[in-house]
Each structure stands twice: as C-alpha cells, then as structure tokens.
C-alpha cells in the first residue's frame, strides 16, 4: 500500500508533465479542475444576449463534467469596456483558464489582457481576428435573420415589414440587413424599413420606433434590439401586428404577437468554444464564425401562432433553411444600413 501511495504522486507528476508538453500546439494546458469566467455586456438573467452566453457556459460545464473535468463558472455583469479589461486581467491573475468576453465592445480588452496573460485563454465575441491565446467567435446571425425576413414577408398582409435595431454595429446591422434581404427574396416588391434607436435598453424608444414603422404600413417587425425588444412587442401587440424576436425564444413573453424567435444558438456556440478551450483543442488563429451551415441559427416558432402560418409557407421556410445549410444559398454580411435594398438577389445563389 505504501509503495502505491508513493507511486500516485509520481504518476500524477508524469501525467502533468505530459500534459504540459502536449499543450504546445494551441491553447493552455488542461487540469481536472478548471476555472472559467464569463464577462457579458448585460446581465445573465436579461432573457437576451447576455443570458444566452451564460447558458452556453453552463452547457459547457455539463458537457465537461461527463469527461471528468469540473468547470467552475464565475461571472460579472453590466460592464463598460474599461471595466471589462480590468475584470479579465483580474480573473487571469487568479488563475482562471478560460475567460469569455461576451460583448462586441470588449475586443480591445481581450487582446490587451491576452498579451499580458499568456497562460489563460480569452474568448471574445465578434472580434476581427484570433491571435495567440485570444480567439474570436462569431454567431453569423445574418443567416437566420434572412430566414426570418423570408417568413415575415410571406406572413405580411401589407407587403411591408420592418426592423428596429439598437446600434449600427456590424453584428446588429448584419441582422437588420439580412432580415430585409430575406424579405426581398420572398417578395422583391416588398417595402422594408429599418430604424436605429442607439440603445440596448430604451424600451420606450423601441416602442415608438416600431410604431412609426407600423404607422407606415409594416405589419411584421424584427427585433435587433436586445432587451429593448419589449417595446417592440408592446407596439405590435396593440396594433395586432406580428413581431420576430432574436437571441432567445421570447414567445412566452408576448404570446399573442411574437410569431417566431431567431435563435442564434449562442449557447451552442459558446458552449462549444469553451469546451474546446478547456480541452486545449482550439485551432491557432482560427476565427470561429459559424452560421447555419455550422448549426448556428434556428427559427423557433411560437406554438400559439403556428396555426396562423400556412403549411406551404412552412415548407418554403424549411427548404430555404436547407439551402442555406447546404451552402446553396449564401447570405452576405452587410454592414451598411440600406445596402440590402441595392443587393442583387441573383448573387445569393450564384457560386
């Protein structure tokens, strides 16, 4: 027994050293107990973007547990970019192995912290590149927004749909323009409106923006406004119009007006990259930009609304989804508001 006891530390040391040697390829070494941190823009219970990322962290934790790795997930909330960097550095100092910055404005924080803390992995959403120990992951939401626009156009009785968006940031504008493009694909003569409210949380303004579009004849509104989507639902419900939510399934919030939710499967994306980070299997310099072809993007229909959607429309939506997944139709990432109006629809399916 005594000799066995002496053997265990030797074996452990051997395994540890082997692990260190093998980890040279990509990310930092793995251990049985790993600490991870989650740094979002908003709050983990906001029912939207930030909550979706947190769900991903929890999913990673569950999956890793099956592999015998115990992942602790700690988080902080409601940060400004400056504070995000301080937080990231702080977690790294405390030995957190994977640090997830789930906010488009935290890119610099990730790169700067990454330089000074090579032993930790930093995962940053919607960033231009992956460098050393910093990886960018991008939910390519224009795909699912396109499908939403297609559905919206088919459901619109007035041949006019609209989108209310937060800021003219790439990630948001891709969605807004993707929606409008999808609507045009369904009906090239359709009118599409887009309004930017310059806020993630001004529900009052979101409502008035939606109302302005409704006043102009739109009867389906897509939300690209994070938490402020509540305002959109208030407007569409009062007008008897339809809304399409984004990031998470919000049908239960306003069942009489939410037609569907454009899910970015953010939990799936975050969960996957976190698992890869902990296991050390992230590829160097790879940007994980994943759209429907990679499983990111699904349309969650509101069961209460399902009867209102004609069966052949659902068939067309399913076919469109297949086409995008198979790469037969490529949705462009348009970063300029209004570009979707000039985009030649033929370019969608050309090789």
């Amino acid at each position: 027994m005594k000799s066995l006891e002496k053997l265990i530390p030797l074996v452990a040391a051997g395994v540890g050293m082997a692990g260190v040697v093998l980890s040279g390829a990509g990310s930092a070494a793995v251990a049985a107990e790993v600490k991870s941190a989650y740094i979002p823009c908003g709050q983990v219970n906001d029912g939207s973007w930030s909550q979706a990322g947190y769900e991903g962290m929890k999913a990673a934790k569950q999956a890793l547990a099956k592999d015998g790795i115990e992942l602790t997930v700690d988080y902080t909330e409601n940060l400004t970019p400056a504070k995000a960097e301080a937080a990231a550095r702080d977690y790294a100092t405390r030995g957190y192995q994977t640090i997830v910055l789930h906010c488009g404005t935290f890119a610099d924080a990730a790169y700067n912290a990454g330089k000074d803390f090579p032993k930790s992995n930093f995962l940053i959403v919607v960033a231009p590149k992956s460098v050393d120990n910093v990886w960018s992951y991008i939910p390519a939401m224009q795909d699912i927004s396109f499908v939403s626009g297609f559905l919206a156009a088919k459901m619109s009785k007035t041949a006019a749909v609209g989108v209310v968006a937060s800021f003219n940031f790439s990630n948001v504008t891709w969605q807004a323009e993707g929606f409008r493009l999808g609507a045009r694909y369904a009906n090239p003569k359709i009118k599409t409106y887009s309004t930017y409210i310059n806020s993630f949380d001004d529900v009052g303004k979101a409502k008035e923006a939606a109302q302005a579009e409704l006043d102009s004849g739109a009867d389906v509104i897509y939300s690209a406004t994070d938490q402020a989507s509540r305002g959109i639902f208030a407007a569409t419900e009062a007008a008897g119009a339809l809304a399409v939510a984004s990031y998470s399934d919000q049908a239960s919030l306003a069942p009489k007006t939410v037609l569907a939710s454009a899910l970015a499967n953010i939990p799936l994306l975050v969960g996957n990259v976190v698992q890869m980070s902990v296991k050390g299997s992230l590829e160097k310099s790879k940007v994980y930009a994943i759209g429907m072809a990679g499983g990111i993007g699904a349309l969650a229909m509101n069961p209460e609304m399902q009867q209102k959607v004609p069966a052949d429309v659902m068939k067309e939506v399913a076919k469109l989804t297949d086409d995008i997944k198979a790469g037969r139709l490529k949705v462009p990432a348009l970063s300029e508001p209004g570009k979707s109006e000039q985009f030649d629809l033929k370019n969608l399916t050309s090789k």
């Binding site: 009052g204 006043d215 509540r230």
Partner: protein, 328 residues
C-alpha cells in the same frame, strides 16, 4: 413612407399622437421638477427617481394586476426618494448637485437589485397589458383630424392634460405656491415673514419625487408593460433642460416636453422616409433642434435666485450663485 408622406394629413396626425405619447412621462417629471426648482432646489436625481418609479410601478402592476395601484405605489416610492434627497440637501445642507448625481447611482442600483431579486430571469416575466389600451374619450375623439391623436390615448395622457393647469394653479394662485416661489427667490425674506423654509422645500421635493416616479411608471406600466435596467435612458436629464426651456412655467414646460416629443417622433419617421438621411445621425436631431430653438426663441436663462443654496437659517449662503445674471 416616402417624401410624399409629408403631404398626407395622416402622417401629421400620427406624428402628433406619437409626440404626445413620448411627451407624457416627460411632462409628469418636468412639472414636478418645475416646482422643485421654484423652491430653490436643483434635483439632478430625476433620472434615478424615474427608474425607481418604473421598477416599483411595474412590480406593483405585475402582482396586483391593477394599474392604479401600480401608479400609486410608484408615486409613494418616488416621494420617498424625494424625501431622502430633501433630508440630505435641505436638512443636512449637502450639495444638491452631488447628492442628485449620487442618488442616481444609488437608485439605479436599487432598481436593478430589486428587479433581479423578484425574477430569476427576465425570460420568465411576460409582458403586461395593464393600461396599454387607449381610451377614446366620447365626442372629443370624434373631432376631425386631431380628435384621435389628442383624445384617443392612454388615460395617463389625460391625467397629464389635467395636471398642467393644476400645477399652474398651484404655483400661481395658492398660498403654498406663493410661499414656494418666495422660498426659491428670497429665503431670508420668506423666513422673516414666518414661512418655514425647510418645510416648504421638503414638500416641494416630495412632490417632485412623486411626479418623477409617476413619469417612470408611465413608461413601464402604461406604455410598454415591462421593466428593463436602463430604460429611463437619460430622460431625467432631458427633464432638467425642459424645465429651463419652459421658463419654470407649467404651460411652457408642457409645451417644451411636447416639442421634444415631436422632434423624437419626427426623427424616427425620417429614418424610414427613404430620403437617404443618415440613420445614425438622425437620433441627434431632437437635441440639435432644442439647441436651435433655445438660441433663437427662448429668453434669458433665469434660475430662481436662491437655487442650489442650502438655507441654513442664519442666511449663510455658501455656494456661488448658479448662473449669475451678468450684464457685463
């Protein structure tokens, strides 16, 4: 919508209706702040008080399913916040601007904390429908063209219509109003006439807090039916500007609120007008228009003479006068 829309009357009607909707919470908070500033206090904490009104009103509406209980709760919570401001600035003589700024931080934190503790996730909080339905007033809403815009609105809008003359009457025709104005202009003189400066100021700030709370609850309960952190989005600061813009007169303050609401409603409609105006610059339109109007239309700035000076019962004035009327 197109350029052609500007010629259609329906466009202007919907613009009017939207302007009134946007203006309503601003009117409530501005009427309150008008009284507060007339009494000599500068409450920069309006934003926080509106947030507290929004969260408490929403929670009350959620659990009681009754809008009027919700507004009552919001008013009470706002009054309490006002009282705290009053105790710190009037009784303890703390600097009003700093107190207001810090109260904003505190109030926003409290609102967030309370909401987070009430609901484990925002995904579990369905939208409310408590008073979002407009109430068309008989006969009045049938007036051609403007009838529906003016008189087929939420009941809160009608309350706002009523409160404007009420506040005017309060300030101009009641003893309390006259005392309040005296206290804001010459507290020493008022004191020597037997007016309790502290008590009048505390009453004013409690009223101001109540109105701010009502304003916040209007958005959360009557207009949207949800609470979200940060939903006040700077309206409290717009209120400060509106009060000055309206010359501390309830009628003009209400008009200033409407003007701002109209600029905001216009900006949103211009974005979808297809006129090719930059979507990202149009959000700045209301602020720019306000500056232009102020420069060419509004008169001299004239805060009540004793604003932002703690009255310490021996005429000890500490802070330099705010915005001195210099003719040099």
């Amino acid at each position: 919508m197109t350029l052609h829309s500007f010629v259609e009357i329906t466009f202007w009607i919907s613009l009017l209706a939207a302007s009134i909707r946007i203006a309503t919470p601003l009117i409530f908070a501005s009427l309150g702040e008008t009284v507060v500033e007339r009494a000599g206090l500068l409450n920069v904490g309006v934003e926080g008080m509106m947030a507290l009104g929004a969260v408490s009103g929403f929670l009350a509406a959620f659990y009681s399913a009754n809008a009027w209980i919700a507004f009552l709760v919001a008013i009470v919570v706002g009054s309490l916040a006002g009282l705290i401001f009053g105790l710190l600035t009037v009784v303890r003589g703390a600097d009003q601007i700093v107190t207001g700024i810090v109260l904003n931080i505190l109030a926003l934190g409290v609102a967030s904390f309370v909401y987070q503790n009430a609901f484990a996730s925002a995904n579990n909080v369905p939208q409310l429908h408590v008073t979002t339905a407009p109430l068309a007033l008989p006969w009045l809403s049938n007036i051609p063209w403007v009838g529906r815009a003016l008189f087929a609105q939420s009941p809160l809008v009608y309350l706002a219509y009523l409160l404007v003359p009420v506040f005017w009457f309060l300030l101009e025709r009641t003893p309390w109003g006259l005392n309040t104005k005296a206290v804001g202009e010459h507290p020493e003189a008022a004191d020597s006439l037997g007016i309790d400066v502290w008590r009048v100021r505390l009453q004013a700030i409690i009223l101001g807090g109540a109105m701010a709370g009502l304003g916040g609850a209007t958005i959360a309960v009557a207009q949207v039916g949800a609470y979200v952190d940060g939903m006040i989005a700077g309206r409290g600061f717009i209120v400060l500007a509106i009060v000055v813009f309206g010359g501390w007169n309830p009628w003009r303050v209400a008009f200033a609120s409407l003007f701002f609401g109209a600029a905001e409603a216009l900006q949103l409609r211009l974005q979808i007008s297809g006129m090719g105006l930059p979507n990202q610059l149009l959000p700045g339109l209301p602020y720019l228009l306000t500056i232009v109007v102020v420069v060419f239309v509004a008169g001299r700035a004239g805060y009540p003479a004793a604003i932002n000076q703690p009255y310490l019962r021996r005429g000890l004035t500490i802070m330099p006068k705010l915005f001195q009327k210099s003719d040099g």
